[in-house]
């Protein structure tokens, strides 16, 4: 089992939070949305997705609920909580700061 660096884990969290801005989704749909948003750059497998989802739910950023899915079966839907919204904002800010700093560092000769 590959251990994710903290940077990658933070990035995944950020993407998942963003994917849920438009409304609640179940696991597969979240992975699908992340793939869509990043133009196929990030394909999140279940081995990374579900631990992240459960961890974020325990942190209080997501809330889960069982609902009916497109194949008429039950699936677990995740939605953004208020705390999750705030987390999304702060992580976005942080990401901006970090990427700015790294870009600047890479540009210096």
């Amino acid at each position: 089992m590959l251990r994710k660096t903290s940077l990658l884990q933070g990035t995944l969290d950020l993407l998942i939070l963003k994917a849920l801005v438009s409304g609640p989704r179940h696991g597969l749909a979240i992975a699908e949305r992340v793939r869509q948003m990043t133009n196929d750059a990030f394909q999140v497998g279940p081995g990374s997705l579900f631990p992240a989802l459960h961890r974020m739910e325990e942190a209080g950023w997501l809330a889960s609920e069982w609902g009916e899915s497109e194949n008429k079966r039950k699936a677990k839907y995740y939605k953004l909580t208020k705390a999750g919204s705030r987390q999304l904002n702060s992580e976005t800010e942080q990401w901006d700061r970090i990427s700015l700093a790294i870009n600047r560092a890479l540009k210096t000769t």
Partner: protein, 485 residues
């Protein structure tokens, strides 16, 4: 996440573990179904869709493992699970488990039992006040090679008068007296002691005042605690009453505290030792034992030097004292000298026995590990981490160690009272009544059990980590794969 939240999360994850697991299973199953549905919907034929779905489902076990690891309390839950698994495994191999438990029980039990004796007698301070200042003074006859002769009354009195190294000096002797009780006349063991004896030992009567100051004209008696409990029903009103000892009516003026066992354990009461006229005493009659308390700051060497000077003077003055000197021995040496070394040796022997037992256990465990290679390699294949596997094996060892240790302690509990009973009452093995499996001994037993568990649990790992280099046999490879984390 706040502490409360985290704790409630952990609570939920552990207590409602089954629901949480069922929930996760359902969620992942739904994921697979949806994936299959989407494959089919995107134009894949049903067979490929099914195959793709199965491929997704194949990784589900490791996904579940990853989710479990990410959960709060997962470590605690995991460890608890490891212990349960270990317990089940031990139960399923009754032969091995019984053998292992027996070995451990005997090994740890023996060590615990001997340690309880060592602890009560040797490792703790003697039960007196500032025991390192209490000494016993024997008469030394260098010409005859005798070092522990009893002392005569005139010598004692001269020593007491002339020495300055001691806070007090006391003399005593054992006698048997006739006590006229309600039940008739009986002989009871008593000690005749000079009144300073209690001060030498730093003991105050628990009830009463001790010997009276006019003890030479009106003798009084001090009862030992045990005697008072057994024969007087622990009745405090006996103070002031009289006992008929050797035909004389003697007032009871004190009861000693429990646990004061001197000079011997079976002494029932203390009577005052006094001499009427000094001139009538016979210097050649050596009847008494002498004990003293060194003054603060006076070393044994200094006291010995002073006593040598005194005895040399006495030698010159009295022909009968020729060749007599004084031998000052610290009380702990006097009481424990002969038993210290044997006890330590016994403890070392028991420790060796335990070490050997652990060695054989380690071998047994290693053999079992080889028998389990199939199970272990399967578990490695489906994604169990090596560290996790090692932790599980360690849990098993700890369970074994603790169970064996508990049995050993039970064994010790049955044997140790026997030691206490067997300690001879004639020789002053002070502290013998303290021999028991108390909290210190139990703590040592616990530490020993855990230590053993670590030794025989980790030993296979150590063995596995040494590789041949040249030719790795199949067994070695499996063992190494399982043991190295």
């Amino acid at each position: 996440m706040s502490i409360v939240n985290r704790l409630s999360r952990i609570w939920r994850n552990i207590i409602h573990r089954r629901q949480v697991e069922d929930d996760l299973n359902a969620e992942l199953q739904a994921y697979v179904d949806l994936a299959a549905h989407r494959h089919a919907a995107s134009g894949m034929n049903p067979e490929d869709a099914l195959r793709a779905a199965r491929r997704d489902a194949g990784g589900m076990e490791s996904v579940k493992e990853a989710v479990r690891d990410a959960r709060s309390g997962s470590l605690l839950e995991s460890v608890v699970r490891d212990f349960r698994f270990g317990a089940r495994l031990l139960a399923r191999n009754p032969g091995f488990t019984t053998a292992a438990l027996l070995m451990l029980a005997v090994g740890i039990g023996a060590n615990t039992a001997i340690f309880s004796v060592l602890h009560a007698l040797v490792l703790r301070d003697l039960p007196y006040s500032e025991p390192d200042r209490i000494v016993v003074i024997h008469e030394k006859r260098s010409l005859e090679g005798a070092l522990r002769n009893p002392v005569s009354a005139p010598d004692f009195l001269d020593w007491r008068e002339q020495s300055t190294s001691f806070e007090n000096l006391a003399a005593m002797t054992n006698i048997e007296v006739t006590w006229q009780s309600e039940g008739g006349a009986e002989r009871i063991p008593a000690a005749l002691v000079t009144p300073e004896l209690l001060d030498v030992y730093g003991v105050r009567p628990a009830i009463g005042t001790g010997f009276r100051s006019d003890v030479s004209t009106r003798p009084s008696a001090i009862l030992t605690h045990g005697f008072w409990q057994r024969r007087f029903g622990a009745d405090p009103s006996v103070l002031g009453r009289s006992m008929t000892i050797a035909g004389t009516s003697i007032e009871i003026t004190g009861i000693l505290p429990p646990g004061f066992e001197y000079p011997e354990r079976d002494v029932e009461l203390f009577l005052p030792l006094t001499w009427r006229s000094r001139e009538s005493l016979d210097r050649a009659s050596h009847d008494y034992r002498v004990a003293g308390r060194l003054k603060k700051g006076v070393s044994l060497g200094a006291a010995s030097a002073e006593m040598d000077g005194i005895t040399a003077r006495l030698e010159k003055q009295h022909a009968v004292s020729k060749g007599h000197g004084a031998n000052i021995v610290p009380l702990s040496n006097e009481l424990l000298g002969p038993i210290k070394m044997p006890l330590f040796v016994l403890q070392a022997a028991a420790a060796l026995v335990l070490l050997v037992a652990c060695g054989s256990l380690a071998n047994l465990l290693l053999a079992r590990m080889l028998a389990r290679e199939r199970e272990l390699s399967i578990r490695l294949a489906i994604g169990a981490g090596r560290g996790h596997l090692l932790r599980q094996l360690l849990c098993e060892s700890i369970l074994l160690g603790l169970a064996g240790g508990t049995l050993g302690v039970v064994l010790a509990f049955t044997v140790v009272p026997l030691f206490r009973y067997l300690a001879p009452t004639a020789t002053p093995i002070v502290g013998a009544t303290r021999i028991g499996v108390d909290s210190t001994v139990l703590a040592v037993a616990l530490a020993l059990s855990v230590l053993c568990a670590l030794v025989f649990g980790l030993f296979p790992r150590y063995v596995g980590s040494e590789s041949d280099g040249k030719r790795d046999s199949r067994e070695r490879r499996i063992v190494r794969a399982c043991m190295l984390s």
